[in-house]
């Protein structure tokens, strides 16, 4: 039912003989119960609603979305922490949703995670070298000495001098250094996929650039694939081969980064691009083309979830959920009236622009 989102090999810009995806997620659904203030049971938050995508070996897929889009929940669902309510995640030919216990453990060797908060992901009572060694010790890789040596190599790999930093604790590190330690730990078992959930969002701009370069270097040297999640579209586009735009639990658009940026097909993607304030000379000032507030994920709008804020919404958008279709090579969009087509006549009459929007368009 869902068309295959696999990008053909040449779209990533690299020649790949192996066309089988490293990770294939299909119809992932994740829900959780919202708690009212005081602990009473509220509604059910539909955080991720039937999301599908592939990641090819050596490819970076970026997922961009705002608050409530469900992108972090998606990352955790792939990781099975916690397991998605339904859907399948096939990683290296293993169906992760069906694995338990030690089978899941060994599957997890190959897939690691980097969190947003560098200090939260490091045990404040542990020394840096022990933190990096932990995955090796847990899987009993080699001897004590060889693990210690490997930890030092890993610290070197991320640009931290093991002699200076090995015995330190996380509170003695800066944000950028702590994140490097987290990355060193993540690559200790030589995974093939690294999931980064807002991994650089809490870092200062200059430090962020350092860590991004590190990600790039590791990608080349270790042939890593990434699932890179962030709310910053420019950031995501810079690190990714393909970009997926997420809104309220669903993918609006997915395609090669350049294609999504230069030729956005979904109105939400266009609105995101318009809102980004740019330092480029002669760039248009950022405008707010979206009106209204994001709807609640407990009660998402019927049909297309974006229709309540879409300047092109028409009747069909309320009754029919748009299915993804490929409008450009490797570039799919889930919209009844993508930007390649003119706006529906009903939308022009029905839309009530706010003054902000009127000024933006005027």
């Amino acid at each position: 039912m869902t068309p295959d989102n696999t990008a053909p090999a040449d779209n990533t810009g690299d020649a790949r003989s192996d066309k089988k995806p490293l990770l294939a997620a299909r119809d992932l659904v994740q829900e959780f119960i919202a708690r009212e203030a005081g602990g009473a049971r509220g509604g059910v938050v539909q955080a991720v609603s039937s999301v599908s995508f592939d990641i090819m070996p050596g490819e970076t897929l970026g997922v961009v979305g705002e608050t409530g889009s469900g992108k972090s929940t998606l990352a955790r669902a792939v990781l099975q922490a916690p397991r998605p309510k339904s859907g399948s995640v096939v990683f290296r030919d293993m169906e992760l949703t069906k694995l338990r216990g030690s089978a899941l453990l060994s599957a997890r060797r190959d897939m690691q995670f980097v969190w947003q908060d560098p200090f939260g992901s490091l045990d404040p009572k542990w020394q840096v070298r022990s933190i990096v060694e932990e995955p090796l010790a847990a899987h009993s890789v080699g001897t004590r000495q060889s693990r210690r040596k490997r930890a030092e190599e890993l610290l070197d790999l991320v640009g931290l001098d093991p002699a200076r930093y090995g015995k330190r604790h996380s509170r003695e590190l800066s944000g950028g250094q702590a994140q490097r330690v987290a990355i060193a730990r993540a690559v200790a078992l030589e995974p093939s996929l690294l999931i980064c959930d807002e991994a650089v969002s809490s870092l200062d701009v200059l430090i962020q650039a350092q860590v991004l370069n590190l990600f790039e270097r590791l990608r080349r040297e270790l042939n890593l694939s990434y699932l890179f999640i962030a709310h910053d579209l420019a950031l995501v586009k810079q690190v990714s081969d393909r970009v997926a735009v997420m809104y309220l639990g669903k993918f609006c658009e997915i395609g090669p980064g350049e294609s999504v940026y230069k030729q956005p097909l979904h109105p939400y993607t266009k609105a995101l691009l318009d809102s980004i304030p740019s330092t480029e000379p002669g760039a248009a000032r950022a405008t707010a083309t979206l009106r209204g507030e994001p709807p609640s994920p407990i009660n998402p709008p019927s049909g297309c979830r974006f229709r309540t804020r879409c300047p092109r919404a028409a009747d069909r958008c309320a009754s029919e959920v748009p299915q993804p279709r490929e409008l450009a090579p490797g570039h799919l969009v889930a919209c009844h009236f993508p930007l390649t087509e003119p706006a529906p006549a009903a939308a022009a009459a029905a839309s009530v622009p706010t003054s902000a929007q009127a000024q933006a368009q005027g």
């Binding site: 991004l212 910053d232 304030p277 507030e293």
Partner: protein
């Protein structure tokens, strides 16, 4: 600049922590004209927030402040809290990063606005309510009468920030300081709020200072930009001059910031020009230029003596011994 609304001169803020002196702001000077927008840009630890809080008198007891900050000619530094309270809200107001923390979760939002109004003006309850609803309309909250009786948790992040702005504008201040007011918001909401702030500025003839780490915001919305590093101003210029075609960024730190921001136009997997190291410890600032330990163009004179902020070109001040040569950005 006799017609300047706010004149800050040689502002210094320091406090003692753990037996050491932390120099949060180390000699900062700038001016804001009435009705204009100033962006103060810096990373964490640059002193951008502490400086503005010092002007508003919002720093904890025990902080040592020296220097001058004159609002319409009135000196603010050194005033007692009760004296400052007369200015806070009526002449100058501040909006902070996290709207959830600026609002009392147990009080209806309308009541919080009327409280702000009645602190400074002698108006009856029903008139204050009318004014509050007007303010909610002013900040473009739909159905303001209904929203009046709602609680903060019933509003989205963007709406809450609008409420906080409404409270700040209750007495039509001449100066509004927005401290990372959009950092916690989504980028689409950020664009809405920034546009709102600019409209309000025009309608109320208000000067706006917004503090951020995002140079893009400065490029898009500011008239004048001040860049801070390690407690000092390192560059100041009109936004058009820094970011326009043939823009001229002079100070090396500003240049590094610009280069490090992800740009949509850059190809994927491009290697970013990096600056190593991290900002200096505010309790142990280096002699010489604070950025020298990280600057790729640092020379001996940079570590020997700190360059002073001076107007090397009309309207453009910078503090750098070896400023960037060509003016191209990115």
């Amino acid at each position: 600049m006799s017609n300047a609304l706010l004149e800050v001169e040689d502002l210094r803020v320091a406090f003692a922590a753990g037996g050491r002196e932390i120099r949060a702001v180390d000699g900062v000077s700038y001016t804001v004209e009435p009705g204009r927008t100033l962006a103060i840009i810096g990373e964490s630890g640059s002193g951008k927030t502490v400086g503005c809080r010092a002007i508003m008198g919002l720093l904890p007891v025990g902080t040592v402040i020296s220097g001058s900050a004159r609002l319409n000619g009135t000196e603010l530094i050194g005033l007692s809290d009760s004296q400052l309270r007369k200015h806070r809200g009526s002449d100058m107001a501040m909006v902070f990063q996290d709207p959830a923390r600026s609002l009392n979760p147990t009080m209806q939002v309308g009541k919080q606005i009327t409280e702000a109004i009645r602190t400074h003006r002698k108006v009856g309850k029903s008139e204050a309510r009318d004014q509050a609803i007007e303010l909610l309309r002013l900040v473009r909250i739909p159905a303001p009468e209904r929203r009046f009786s709602e609680y903060p948790h019933q509003l989205s992040g963007g709406m809450r920030q609008r409420v906080v702005i409404a409270m700040a504008l209750a007495c039509r201040p001449k100066l509004l300081i927005a401290d990372e007011a959009t950092t916690a918001l989504d980028v689409t909401t950020q664009a809405q709020i920034m546009e709102l702030l600019l409209e309000l500025q025009r309608d109320l003839d208000m000067a706006l200072i917004f503090i951020s780490h995002d140079l893009g915001l400065a490029a898009s919305y500011a008239d004048e930009v001040v860049v801070m590093y390690a407690g000092k101003v390192v560059e100041q210029a009109p936004a058009k001059r820094l970011f326009g075609t043939g823009g001229t960024v002079k100070m090396r730190y500003t240049r590094a910031l610009l280069d490090a921001i992800p740009h949509l136009e850059r190809p994927a997997h491009a290697e970013l020009p990096v600056v190593t190291g991290r900002p200096p410890d505010p309790s142990a600032l280096p002699v010489g230029c604070s950025f020298a330990p990280r600057c790729p163009s640092a020379a001996d004179d940079c570590t020997a003596k700190a360059p002073a902020l001076a107007e090397h070109a009309p309207g453009h001040r910078w503090a750098c011994w070896h400023p960037c040569e060509n003016g191209a950005t990115a």
